[in-house]
Symmetry: C2
Subunit: 222 residues, 2 copies
Amino acid sequence: MPKWKGGDVLTSDAMPDVVAEGPTPTRSSARGRPVATSHAAIEQAAFRLFATHGFAGTTMEAIAREAGVGKRTIFRYYQSKNDIPWGRFDRTLDHFRALLAEQADDLPVHTAIHRGVVEFNRFPADARPPHRERMRLILTTPELQAHSVLRYAEWRRVIAEHVALRTGARPDDLVPQVAGHVSLAISLSAYEAWLAEPDADAPGLPEIIDRAMAGLQSYLSG
Amino acid sequence: MPKWKGGDVLTSDAMPDVVAEGPTPTRSSARGRPVATSHAAIEQAAFRLFATHGFAGTTMEAIAREAGVGKRTIFRYYQSKNDIPWGRFDRTLDHFRALLAEQADDLPVHTAIHRGVVEFNRFPADARPPHRERMRLILTTPELQAHSVLRYAEWRRVIAEHVALRTGARPDDLVPQVAGHVSLAISLSAYEAWLAEPDADAPGLPEIIDRAMAGLQSYLSG
DNA sequence: TCCATTTTGGCATCGAGTGCCATTAGTGTG
DNA sequence: CACACTAATGGCACTCGATGCCAAAATGGA
């Protein structure tokens, strides 16, 4: 689903982030004891271990050891073990909002949403492998599959708000909610099909999302 | 989503169940030590505590004490704490399958599915309050929301298989999967709207599911 | 150098979940 | 009726995720 802004396991920032939300250490000034690690470092350590021992087989203790910090510190960077594979997903919702906003006004709402979703899932070639690996982990590990609902809810909210804005409804009304849920349904179907493909290239995510949407249209037409 | 066959907190069987799956104690003959409790008794005890202390505030120890059995025994009836509010959902999937199968052959697939889903969610008046309470708990408790994905996946599978059968595709193909995901999307939107209503009566679940489907059609039409 | 500031990480604790196994309470048989 | 047979029970120990608490560490600035 997501296009991560930061937290990429391979390329991301090694510096602590300056955000004012969640358990992320906020660095308002340069005073005080300096941070000992970063989201990127923790994710790298974690993915290294996940690859060899699996998600369930990797303890938080082990991740802490691999990252060279205390277990307690890991929990200050990530609320839970399940949050680690998601990286810093929260940041990307702003990006998603922007993508939706920049779609042409004269498009039908569902088309604007669809295009926004497609763009949201367009990645440069070099970002594809780690993205794929991340999503594979999330979508095939039961604990993570379950946990991801909470993330999806935030993502759906972005859509519901956009639809509400464009149709004059409230975000909690039925149609905006349906739009959010159905967009997620399309995306998840597409991701599953994408991951089922043997070659990491084949049709890309954007194409598959288009197909999934076309599939829905044909399904609903009879 | 579900129409539970057994495990109803108010009306269900007080006898151990004869099923051959999961951690449910299988009673093949009448020999051996008799069971000390039942799914129904455990659920009743659990819901009593959930009502006063909330889900997170209720420990498995407490549920065991309330039910008059050992904690270890509770875990033989339910794989996890999260499974308790779901009752014996697995049983209802057979019922759902039957409902889909009995829809007229000449209906368009999406119509047959929709009708099956609607029927699946039609309850006699006296079953409504406990059902509503159960779903309220599941859909408003984060842990349970997350956990429910695993149940939904089984439910979606039933739809995907039916669509595959009727269209000559395989269950894992894109369109059947999309059908499953989208049906779930509709159902969840409907449930949320249903729970948001102050009165337990107002429009019933079947009506709201119809509206959600109509909402999707209008959304996709522009 | 001392202070304010901020992160760190150790420790204790809780609760979910699991493996192990002796105990219990029935049924069927001689 | 006593004795084996059978199957559920429940206690115990243990692992692991998660959280609260707090002293220690490490920096910039006065």
